[in-house]
């Protein structure tokens, strides 16, 4: 990545933000894939309304960490609390954890929205159905109300005229914006973004980032795994650097970019800027 991302998005506004109580609390999380130790004693607290950007080389564990928050991956040690619940597990009085049933985890996930690198829209459903399927079929929302909400969300992501289109008829940037609308339709308390722009053509990246910046200004709690440092500058409260399964830097953007403490961050910044 040689391009300057900063020119894609507007300059950082001074944003005095009021942060709420912790909404995601990650404590001493351990994760292994076989002999590969992906997360080593990772702890992180995100407060309501906060925007946290996680950067790092591929294989540093940043996507895995994000997936663990939504319990798309199991964890071997530690705990993750999100929206007041212990994610994915039940803990007995001795502190021993047992994985929750599929049904219980599904309910927990409804508090969070997730956006993926590869969009993962449902190709057999049109845009409107993609957005309303979970509210209507899973949450039991009134179809007419869900549709009105979906159209409102499409308006917000700048695609009011694409409601009837199928995903295969949309560009990558449009698909990702629909995916964001789909996640928002569940009225999540936290939004998780897993490299939302990495699969996009350069000219489509900004249209997705604009939507995300807009979302952050409306006070959404966001955890964003990305290499788009322009976004970090414009919207993040904190920027984290991960390397080899450890968070090596956790600083406000101005400090992250001007006075990085970790060698990993300095190396990363020298390559990307």
């Amino acid at each position: 990545m040689t391009r300057m991302e900063a020119d894609v998005v507007p300059a950082a506004p001074a944003k005095p933000r009021e942060l709420g109580p912790p909404i995601v609390e990650i404590c001493n999380v351990e994760k292994r894939f076989g002999s590969n130790h992906v997360l080593r004693d990772v702890s992180l607290t995100v407060r309501r309304g906060e925007v946290v950007v996680i950067a790092g080389r591929s294989g540093s564990g940043k996507s895995t960490l994000l997936r663990c928050i939504d319990h798309l991956e199991t964890i071997e040690g530690g705990t993750i609390h999100a929206c007041g619940e212990l994610m994915g597990y039940r803990q007995d009085s001795m502190g021993k954890k047992t994985e929750l049933s599929d049904r219980r985890v599904a309910r927990q996930r409804r508090n969070m929205g997730m956006v993926f690198q590869s969009f993962n829209l449902f190709p057999h459903l049109n845009v409107l159905r993609n957005i309303t399927i979970s509210p209507v079929k899973i949450m039991g929302e009134d179809p007419a109300r869900a549709e009105a909400h979906a159209r409102e969300l499409l308006e917000r992501v700048g695609l009011p005229d694409k409601a009837e289109a199928y995903p295969s008829q949309l560009s990558g940037g449009q698909q990702q914006r629909v995916a964001i609308a789909r996640a928002l339709a569940m009225r999540p308390q936290v939004m998780l973004f897993d490299e939302p722009t990495s699969a996009l053509d350069p000219e489509m990246i900004s249209e997705v980032l604009d939507v995300m910046i807009d979302l952050s200004r409306q006070g959404m709690t966001m955890i964003v795994v990305t290499h788009e440092m322009g976004f970090a500058r414009a919207a993040a409260d904190r920027v984290l650097m991960m390397a080899d399964g450890v968070i090596v830097e956790d600083a406000p953007p101005e400090e992250f970019f001007t006075n990085p403490q970790s060698e990993h961050t300095r190396l990363f910044l020298s390559k990307i800027l």
């Binding site: 190709p123 899973i138 295969s168 949309l170 990246i205």
Partner: protein, 242 residues
């Protein structure tokens, strides 16, 4: 032996023959519906997390795909009564055809489900769907598109395979043909007539299958090329040169 158009035409539309055609049609449909239903069960057993269910499914597929249907049918009709399970001709034919079909259809369903992109599972889980909801709203509808073509082929095969039920004296199209041929000594005419009826049935099914495939393909539409492209300018540059 000379060919007689007269006999051929008479056989073709005789009540006796038409009744055989009708038997072949309903036998195919019943065996297919039962076989596919059981096949779905076996497929999900094979994809289950439980070891014993997987092994049962494996054993089932191993046995029923590894032995000839003809042998299975004769065993069900003639050997089972010796251990106290007495099935009539029709029941035996239905049981044998559907159990046999299930073994093949299980593998078709399994590969259909496995063909659905992993990201679809992630997305549906992240939207708070339970296993059953993921299957119903996301995985099965997409797998269906992959399953329909081989399912159609299986039904085509089934129409023709029902002729094996003649060995246990099921009065379907082929057995009626045999009897007609022996009765009137017009062997060629009778069998040509049967061939025409089988061909007609499989042709009509082929047309139906085409409609089904088109229906399930519709939403997937022409893929716009921008949606699949990677962001790496070097890679897409190379792709453009190739």
């Amino acid at each position: 032996m000379s060919w007689s158009w007269d006999h051929f035409m008479r056989f073709l539309f005789s009540d006796y023959m038409l009744h055989g055609v009708w038997t072949t049609i309903w036998l195919s449909i019943v065996a297919m519906v039962l076989g596919c239903s059981l096949g779905v069960v076996v497929a999900f057993m094979k994809m289950s997390k439980t070891w014993i269910l997987r092994q049962i499914a494996n054993a089932y597929i191993w046995v029923w795909r590894g032995t000839p249907l003809l042998v299975q049918m004769v065993i069900i009709y003639t050997v089972l009564p010796k251990v106290g399970i007495r099935l009539g001709v029709v029941e035996s034919a239905i049981v044998a055809l559907s159990l046999h079909e299930a073994a093949y259809f299980a593998e078709i369903v399994r590969s259909g489900v496995l063909s659905v992109n992993r990201g679809q599972k992630d997305a549906s889980r992240a939207l708070g769907m339970t296993w059953a909801q993921r299957m119903r709203y996301v995985i099965i509808p997409q797998a269906t598109r992959v399953i329909i073509p081989p399912l159609g082929n299986q039904f085509n095969l089934m129409i023709k395979t029902t002729s094996l039920a003649s060995v246990i004296s099921m009065e379907e199209l082929f057995r009626r043909t045999q009897q007609l041929a022996q009765l009137e000594f017009k062997v060629l005419e009778a069998y040509m007539c049967a061939a025409c009826w089988y061909l007609l049935m499989t042709t009509v099914w082929g047309l139906i299958q085409k409609q089904l495939e088109a229906h399930y393909d519709k939403p997937f539409g022409p893929v716009s090329d921008s949606s699949e492209k990677k962001s790496d300018p070097v890679l897409s540059g190379q792709a453009a040169q190739v």
